[in-house]
Point group: C2
Chain length 322, copies 2
């Protein structure tokens, strides 16, 4: 699976101006649209996620794409392909979670088919009326780089859930995360890590789309700006903007909001936080935003703590790998 | 898998006015939207369909839903989940087929993920501007029932492809459809069935959405009307309209267009023709339409050749089963 190569093949065949952002902006209809799929065994495991959580996450992942465009999330369709071991109760709980995540957004359709694994594909539609729509190619020299929320929490949550978290004894008072069973053992956690652990798990299982951060920017920014979500990690989001805009993004990692228990490689490379990264004019004030850098003159790529990187390369990855 | 029961559970949770037609009509955005999935081993087999054909069919199946609403098909997103045995060439051919099926419709997004079987989910968006949008609940006493094209061809095609077609010796000059290999043997067919066979296979592998039939109705009908496509078969389409509108549809099977080699149970119950059924005022003239009946006074259901049926029941199915 080489997703990005396949997308290039598809782009060449379709010769489409629409592919490249989190959403396609359909100007004649005043809408944006985005479709995202979640596949059992690839994106989630039923061994650690409930039907309710999965319904919530399906909705949030798709609303997050709409938020990345700056549009107002309005409608969703959801297709479920369900194997024999999924019963009616599961479908009911899934849709309860989906509905609870929706807020003002309405689920208006989709279909149900059989399959051999659980496969979920949702499409979200947003209204662009009264909003300025982002593009990854809009970052300009002199703009600041801002982010919502903390980074790396979801990846840390997945490490706990999948039992892969290494013991970080000096930080965690010798608590063994690697043998931790969240359902049974949460009350046994030392107080100083209980909060972080809950946050990590919540972030992975029940992420929240940043509708307010998005709305503030798209209603108040009068100039072109770039925005994307961190579904594939913060570094990937930044590199996508740098390449699409042909600019150099200068990042100060000490400014990136993250939990004390999350190391910098997870902050940069951990996926599925569904936070937003925006590159906007310096004078735009956004509540809840943290400035982590700026767009500077120079070759296209990322300047992270004064080291320069041109693409998602081993050099960058290895530098921050613990 | 009881698709219709699950849809009822979902309807109850969502309490949604949008679910019930081929598309959801989003009036505030002047669009309709529909999502449909195709799952390997459930909806198609790679043993008899090519990547190109599958790309075409994915697009047509989704455009057909938009046509059923009367809206103008405009945009599509496609999500592919692909297993290891699907290579780049397959994805390329799939998108070539998809693009060729599009006409004026544009593919504007989607995603690609891994999976263990090939899953395809597409979403179609149509514009409602200048069109009157259908609802299955709009059939009224005195209206006529019209259909596009022939019925049962796709199911016959699937019978040939899956080797399940029984020999109908007196009709087919003793030709053995059951051992027929389309790729190798088409030229060996007797002339009198060659045309039908090609048509059956084409209808199943490369159906064509009825955009013109749909456009004529939605641009010219000034009153409310009902329309749906025959993705789940002609009888199912008629029953859906009868139940949603609380009316009795009187059908004369001798008027239903079908190939001479297709028996009446396949005409009524065979799926995937993607023809349209509309229930419209008597004075509306539509090119290419065949009138097969009318809406009459009486209990809700179908009156087929003067026998009355209240739902998709064994009585109806057995009556026409050869």
């Amino acid at each position: 699976m080489k997703e990005k190569e396949l997308i290039n093949i598809i782009k060449n065949i379709l010769n489409s101006e629409y592919i490249g952002d989190d959403c396609a902006y359909l100007k004649d209809l005043n809408i944006v649209v985005s479709q995202d799929s979640l596949v059992e065994g690839v994106h989630f495991s039923l061994s650690y996620t409930t039907a309710y959580q999965l319904g919530r996450k399906t909705v949030m992942v798709n609303i997050s794409d709409i938020c990345a465009s700056g549009a107002k999330p309005k409608y969703l369709t959801i297709s479920l392909s369900i194997p024999d071991y999924i019963d009616e109760k599961f479908v009911e709980e899934f849709y309860k979670g989906a509905k609870d995540a929706c807020g003002d957004v309405k689920i208006v359709g989709g279909d149900i088919t059989g399959s051999d694994k659980l496969y979920i594909s949702a499409t979200a539609i947003g209204s662009t009326i009264g909003r300025k729509i982002s593009s990854r190619s809009n970052a300009k020299i002199g703009y600041k780089i801002i982010v919502s929320g903390e980074h790396g929490n979801s990846a840390k949550g997945l490490e706990i859930l999948s039992g892969k978290l290494k013991v970080e004894s000096e930080k965690l008072n010798n608590f063994q995360f690697s043998t931790f069973n969240f359902q049974q053992d949460i009350s046994l956690l030392p107080d100083n890590i209980k909060l972080s652990t809950s946050k990590f798990l919540q972030s992975h299982l029940m992420p929240v789309a940043r509708t307010d951060f998005s709305r503030q920017i798209s209603q108040n920014c009068t100039q072109d700006y770039a925005m994307t979500d961190t579904s594939d990690g913060l570094e990937d989001a930044l590199m996508q903007i740098a390449k699409a805009s042909n600019v150099r993004l200068k990042i100060d990692t000490s400014k990136i909001p993250h939990d004390a228990y999350v190391d910098m490689d997870t902050v940069l490379f951990g996926g599925e936080d569904y936070e937003l990264v925006a590159v906007v004019p310096k004078d735009l004030h956004i509540d809840g935003a943290t400035e982590i850098g700026e767009v500077v003159d120079g070759d296209t790529g990322l300047e992270i703590d004064e080291e320069f990187y041109t693409d998602i390369d081993d050099k960058l990855f290895n530098h921050f790998k613990r």
